[in-house]
Amino acid sequence: MFEAPLGFFVGFYEVLRSEYALHLCVLLGIYLILAQSFNLVFGVGGLFNLAHVATYAIGAYTTALLSTELNVGVFQCLLASALLSGLLALIIGAISLRLATDYFAIGSLAFSAVVSALLINWRSLTRGVLGIPGIPRPEWGGIDFNGVQNFLYFVIVVTLLCLGAMWILFRSSFARSLKAAAQSDVAAQSLGRDVARLRIWAFFISSAFAGIAGGLFAYYLNYIDPSSFSLTEMVLVLTIVVVGRPGSFWGVAAATLLLVVLLPEGLRFLPLEPSVLGPLRQFLHALLLFIVVYMNRARLFPVERMV
């Protein structure tokens, strides 16, 4: 067995010693990357990018296709996922420069729907609603990643690298400039910031990370189809960031744990039909989003005053 003393996730596993707990940790890792990347573009940058999950989807499909059709290795797949998602984000960024915030929300949503439609209908490429099965686990150093445990170690490494990079980003001068631009576009410019360029970078970087998360997702489930990347998923990511406080690294980390692991698992203990659990979780997520938005309504989305 591959031994590696890695803090939190391994401790968790030691305590519970079940495959299911490992599964939760994998999901947690993936969603941490996805949520923090949205936190960067939306929480720090103030950019209401409802197409974020679309870039996550592109990352997943890129890895899926490259590994199944072309037998590309794991690092190249993840890199390609990051790059393609980032490239897609450049288009979204270009759109954002032309639209005011509320129009951009609609526009990014529409863009996301176009991507969805393409995933469903471009059957020759994506196999449509049938999805892409048989995505092999990564191959590296002769280790068998088919088991949850080893794969978890892989996810932990990738997650820590991504989160580490994002932690630095959140405290960097880049983030300060982004935040400044989010609060006052014109004041940031009068301090020498090229706001357009900053925002394009924000879109690129956040989507690249989302793409990596997508790649991990594809590797983990060994199968992807368009239904995993719907509006519901976007609302979940939005909820996590709003609940965790937009812009707060640790807040969003905690919210990810709450909404992806604790809440759904807590629900399992209720005496309910399995078919009700999914919608109930969706309901509670939305309810939580509403409550947090309501409580913070004076603070969220401050309207920028004109010059």
Binding site: F48, G107, A110, A113, S230, F283, V293
Partner: protein, 296 residues
């Protein structure tokens, strides 16, 4: 080219649905810049209320209709008071997020109550299509077109020929001035919003009768309603109506016609709404149809 008449009829049918569903949305937006993200989900709720009354409880057609109407009214009031009005003095983006949450909650609730599977609500109302002039149309589709024309006419009468309609138009054009003149701004908003809710519920029932219902049917109709509004100019009622029919036209022609031997697979139909929104927002955000004397 001989499928063109059929495509046009289909466009008329789709356009009618979109027009009924988005008319209310357009008025609400004009009044209070309310971007109701759950508009499509309202359609779904209307359809399910009708389903519950008619199929599950064996109600008659009129009874079920009334039940659905009442449910939609309640839904409209609740949505307005909980998800929209508390946020009116803060950022206009907030109702956007809260109605997103509302839509998700509606979808989840309906899934829990009725299950996620597709249901049929047209039991006992299945009729054969009628053919005339090479075009096939079912009775329910005729009802859709006729409903749209009559409802929109009534709406037109309301907005242009009644004092209430004058109030709507005045408040939409001079939001701040009119409110300070003491006209009951909230009252008007409530009535208009609930009207829109009831209309979209009705549209949902029509869709359900024409095809079937499913808790997830709401989301794409929300986007279609937004597409129609964007095409016609946000807040411009008749622009939105025209936009709805134009949307129906674009959707159906795009998949039906041959472009030099290549035609788009039917699945892309929905994508067109989205591409349109993007295109219009980027090129002409004020919409294609100039506001007839309207200012946002």
């Amino acid at each position: 080219m001989d499928i063109l008449p059929q495509l046009l009829i289909n466009a008329l049918i789709s356009g009618s649905i979109y027009a009924i569903a988005s008319a209310g949305l357009s008025l609400s937006y004009g009044l209070q810049r309310i971007l109701n993200f759950a508009q499509g989900h309202f359609m779904m709720v209307g359809a399910y209320a009708f389903y519950a009354a008619r199929i599950l409880h064996q109600g008659s057609l009129p009874e079920s209709g009334v039940v659905a109407l009442l449910v939609m009214l309640l839904l409209g009031l609740a949505s307005l008071y909980i998800f929209v009005l508390p946020f009116s003095s803060f950022s206009p983006l907030l109702p956007f997020v809260t109605t997103l949450a509302l839509g998700a909650m509606l979808e989840a609730s309906v899934s829990m109550l009725f299950g996620v599977n597709v249901q049929s609500i047209s039991r006992g109302l299945e009729f054969e299509s009628i053919e005339f002039g090479g075009v096939f149309i079912t009775p329910i589709q005729i009802v859709i077109i006729v409903s749209a024309l009559s409802l929109l006419s009534l709406l037109g009468l309301l907005v242009h020929c009644t004092s209430f309609g004058r109030r709507i138009r005045a408040l939409s054009e001079h939001r701040y001035a009119a409110a300070s003149l003491g006209t009951s701004y909230t009252g008007t908003t409530i009535i208009v919003f609930c009207l829109g809710t009831v209309l979209s519920g009705y549209a949902g029932i029509l869709v359900g009768l024409e095809t079937n219902i499913q808790p997830t049917m709401g989301a794409s109709y929300t986007i279609k309603a937004f597409a129609a509004m964007t095409l016609g100019g946000l807040g411009n009622l008749w622009g939105t109506v025209l936009g709805s029919y134009l949307l129906g036209l674009i959707e159906n022609l795009s998949i039906g016609l041959d472009f030099g031997g290549y035609s788009l697979p039917a699945g892309y139909k929905d994508a067109f709404a989205f591409v349109i929104i993007l295109g219009v927002l980027l090129i002409k955000p004020e919409g294609l149809f100039r506001r007839v004397g309207r200012r946002v």
